[in-house]
């Protein structure tokens, strides 16, 4: 088909977390601009399998930009050259014929490589487990309309709640800081009335776990915000710092 492209891929291949990885070069031929980036990798993988070579392993699932499972550092940028999109929603029309594309996994000590481009992001789960919730049991809760919440507050909480936990913020940060991710959840609950009773213990518990996982500190560069596929704002980090310092200075509570 006219308009199709031929590309050179330099892909990080690594058998497992115990072996050293290296870049391997592949040719991707006759790539339609309508393909998604992951479909382009599917095409390359199908050819590899036909040749009896192990396909390139990468994480992906919904391919709709919402599950947060896909990752990939593409030409030095998390989720590739397009702003505000995940790798699965990146299309090949963002590239041109003859281009060389370098594909790496997320690079962070807290995200060890499992194989090739797939990394272990369970540190994110453990941070959420430390306090990313409101302590309510199923049943016995008030009517949903018993607590009016101003639309502006609800909308702002929603904006923070849209984080997909892909890890691009960590991958983009020179310090591999997870503060954008952590602050999004802390902000959601700090804004909503339902989150008030535990807001300070939550901030402390989640920050403590974040530090324990080995993520770096924030130095306000803003790369995380620039690369976030769903537009989580830096102001979340400011809010998290306020929650955390207030907790430390005035409201130290027993952790649950």
């Amino acid at each position: 088909m006219s308009g199709n492209m031929n590309l050179t891929l330099k892909v990080w291949r690594q058998k497992n977390d115990k072996t050293r990885g290296k870049f391997v070069t592949y040719q991707a031929t006759n790539i339609s601009p309508d393909m998604s980036f992951l479909e382009m990798l599917d095409v390359v993988n199908e050819e590899l399998v036909r040749k009896g070579e192990d396909p390139i392993h990468f994480d992906h699932d919904c391919r709709e930009g919402i599950c947060g499972m896909c990752s990939l550092h593409i030409n030095g940028r998390p989720h590739g050259p397009k702003q505000g999109t995940t790798t699965c929603q990146l299309h090949m029309r963002s590239f041109h014929d003859g281009q060389t594309i370098v594909i790496e996994p997320w690079r962070s000590a807290a995200f060890p490589v499992i194989k090739d481009l797939a990394v272990d992001r369970s540190a994110f789960d453990r941070i959420q487990q430390a306090g990313g919730y409101i302590n309510v049991n199923t049943g016995g809760v008030p009517d949903a309309n018993a607590i009016p919440i101003p639309k502006k507050v609800a909308d702002e909480a929603f904006e923070s709640a849209t984080c997909i936990a892909c890890g691009a913020c960590v991958a983009a940060c020179k310090n591999a800081s997870a503060m954008l991710f952590v602050s999004a959840k802390i902000s959601q609950y700090a804004l909503l009335p339902q989150g008030q009773t535990e807001r300070y213990s939550r901030a402390q518990a989640m920050v403590a776990q974040m530090d324990a996982e080995g993520f770096g500190s924030c130095t306000n560069t803003g790369a995380c915000e620039a690369e976030c596929p769903v537009g989580i704002k830096l102001t979340n980090i400011a809010r998290m710092n306020r929650e955390y310092f207030t907790a430390k200075i005035f409201k130290q509570e027993e952790p649950h």
Binding site: S36, R50, D54, E64, S122, A144, D155, A161, A165
Partner: protein, 643 residues
């Protein structure tokens, strides 16, 4: 033989009475029981969290790298609940009635009524968890009308309601993981069910990072593993969605009900080429403001496809707003099955649009004129962006192209009123079971059912089974565990020994073509018989000529895929058998032989008013059909009409 365990008494009192009659497990004894939950979507996460809160030990499993990524997360439109906050005439009975009718009278009355009844609790629960639903300026919850409902009962969080609800359930799950009451296993895939003396006693999983094949024991097993839409290869399901857990349970004795009931969603982005790996849904909330049309004549459609004329050259009288024309009272908001079939009809006539001609328009020109672009953006902005991203066409300037795609499967494991399958101790929740949507699911009802099952049904019904068990721990040294584990290991080795010339995707794509062609939006006897033969042939091809690379003891996506496709190849044939057996049209199952004069689905209540539950009888044995008759005491069966 099939006992639905639906309690006697008036519809509105069944669930309350049943809850009272169920046996309870003493709070101090709950910790003596271990419950296995497979899958962490809305049903799985909510069940795992709620059961752990009650005091049970829970082990939860998901194939993704985090429980938060289960495919419930991709649901867009909303969740129904009979809150009647809008004072527009909604009630539990109306939600029940709409759901039964929408399902074309192929669901159990009692289950559906319970679903409508607990729907109100779900919203309360989610708000208490901090789920940021859309709100009015006064601070109260906003609702919209959705998917053909005549009342506004749908709660939503912009176009990503599933995400917010799942993150709510995930937060409840995290709380229990932190307390140590749930042990979470990420990147673990269930590959078999362990039964001892006919009871579910555990599962066999493969650790998808190390390849370790392990046995896990429990007093009960909950399958919350979603639907099987990926049997069609192309669907709106996530790439990893599969039938394996449910299918292996089926082969261990769980009946599979109504497998031919699949939902083809009318508003998806059309296929662009062979490279396509999945399809993307555009929320049907778009049909609230978008108008569906195609050119009035085949000639105009041809000219448009060839680029000889532009969309703007087509005047109002050249356009056929076929849904508005045929269904004046529901218009663009007819239920999904009706909208999908009509799209197929106009495309088959040759009036389709886009380069392939396999699409219809969903046009927002009028909505933008009426409401202004800003209002349209506020309502649908993220969907428009997604469409633009994928197609490189701006839907604010030109109509969207849409076409139906496989989206949801109403069929699933047969369960009784307690959500227990035909294997004692094995339960199925959410899309994985067959119970609540009949032959067609209404919009915004999947999220409702997943959470109803997990938060408000299973916590009550499971106690009844466990209380009868005694307190003995499951004997993990029982030979069945090792025997089943060995079976799984042998199967994995068998797959890895395949070194043919085809890739797993080659076979999967072929299967998808067969299913879509003969067991998709329209089915007929000759086609289904043909499909059955082709699937059998394809299965032979798989086991003789496919190639599976790598080893077990590593992350191996070739192996994962191969195992799933092997099971789809068996399920596909059962779907065809079920579609062949059901010589009537109902909901998403359209048999061309059974239609009204106007071409609408025509039920045959005299002969097919039953649930078809299939029993596995061994390799290459025909499955045995068991019928659960459906009784309707509270609604009158009518020919569905949306005119």
């Amino acid at each position: 033989m099939l006992d639905s365990k639906v309690p006697a008494g008036p519809l509105a009192e069944k669930w309350s009475k049943h809850k009272f009659n169920l046996k309870l497990v003493n709070p101090a004894n709950k910790r003596k029981y271990t419950i296995i939950v497979v899958g962490t979507g809305l049903a799985g996460s909510s069940a795992a969290a709620s059961l752990a809160e009650l005091g049970y030990n829970v082990k939860a499993f998901c194939y993704q790298d985090s429980p938060r990524r289960a495919h419930s997360i991709a649901a867009q439109g909303g969740i129904n609940a009979a809150k009647n906050y809008q004072n527009d005439g909604d009630s539990v009975f109306r939600l029940f009635y709409d759901t039964i009718k929408g399902g074309d009278y192929r669901a159990r009355e009692a289950n559906v009524y319970r679903l409508a009844e607990v729907s109100v609790n779900i919203i309360d629960q989610c708000v208490a968890q901090g789920v940021p639903f859309a709100r009015e300026y006064g601070g109260l919850l906003d609702n919209r009308s959705f998917g053909g409902a005549q009342v506004s009962r749908t709660f939503y969080a912009r176009g990503q309601t599933g995400q917010q609800l799942l993150l709510g359930a995930y937060s409840a799950l995290n709380r229990q993981i932190n307390k140590g009451t749930v042990k979470m296993y990420n990147r673990h895939e269930m590959l078999d069910l362990v039964t001892i003396d006919g009871h579910a006693r555990g599962i066999i999983t493969r650790n998808m990072v190390t390849g370790a094949i392990e046995a896990h024991e429990g007093h009960a097993v909950l399958l919350c593993t979603g639907g099987y839409g990926n049997v069609f290869y192309l669907s709106t399901n996530a790439m990893g969605c599969n039938v394996t857990a449910a299918w292996r349970a089926h082969k261990r004795g769980a009946f599979f009900a109504n497998p031919c009931y699949t939902q083809i969603h009318p508003t998806c982005i059309p296929v662009t080429g062979d490279h396509q790996s999945k399809l993307t849904l555009m929320s049907e909330s778009l049909r609230n403001d978008g108008r569906v049309w195609v050119p009035k004549t085949v000639e105009l459609a041809q000219k448009l496809r060839k680029g000889e004329i532009k969309i703007s050259d087509l005047k109002e009288e050249d356009r056929d707003y076929y849904l508005e024309r045929k269904y004046p009272s529901f218009g663009n908001l007819v239920p999904r099955d009706v909208a999908s079939r009509n799209a197929k009809e106009v495309v088959d006539e040759g009036r389709g649009v886009g380069a392939s001609g396999i699409a219809v328009y969903l046009d927002f020109e009028d909505a933008i004129k009426r409401l202004g672009e800003d209002t349209v953006r506020a309502k649908y902005g993220n969907l428009f962006d997604m469409y633009y991203q994928i197609t490189d066409e701006n839907p604010y300037k030109q109509p969207m192209r849409i076409y139906p795609a496989v989206h949801y499967t109403m069929g699933g494991l047969w369960v009784d009123y307690n959500l227990m399958t035909t294997v004692p101790g094995l339960y199925a929740l959410g899309e994985c079971n067959f119970s609540d949507h009949g032959a067609n699911r209404l919009g915004a009802s999947a999220l409702m059912q997943g959470l109803a099952d997990g938060y408000f049904v299973i916590p009550y019904t499971i106690g009844d089974y466990l209380a009868g068990l005694g307190f003995d721990p499951v004997d993990r040294n029982h030979p069945e565990f090792e025997k089943t584990r060995k079976t799984v290991e042998d199967n994995v080795q068998r797959l890895l020994s395949l070194k043919g010339s085809k890739t797993v995707d080659d076979i999967h794509k072929k299967l998808g073509h067969i299913m879509w062609e003969y067991c998709g939006m329209a089915r007929n006897e000759a086609g289904l018989i043909k499909a059955k033969g082709q699937i059998q042939e394809l299965r032979r091809e798989f086991w003789s000529d496919v190639t599976v690379l790598g080893e077990n003891e590593e992350m191996n996506q070739s192996l994962e895929k191969a195992g799933r496709v092997a099971d789809f190849l068996e399920l596909g044939e059962l779907m065809v058998d079920d579609a062949l057996n059901r010589r009537e049209s109902c909901g998403g199952h359209f048999r061309e032989e059974s239609q009204t004069e106007e071409g609408e689905a025509k039920r045959d209540d005299e002969n097919f008013k039953y649930v078809a539950a299939w029993e596995y009888r061994g390799e290459s044995q025909p499955e045995v059909l068991h019928k659960e008759p459906l009784e309707f005491e509270n609604v009158k069966l009518t020919q569905r009409s949306y005119k």
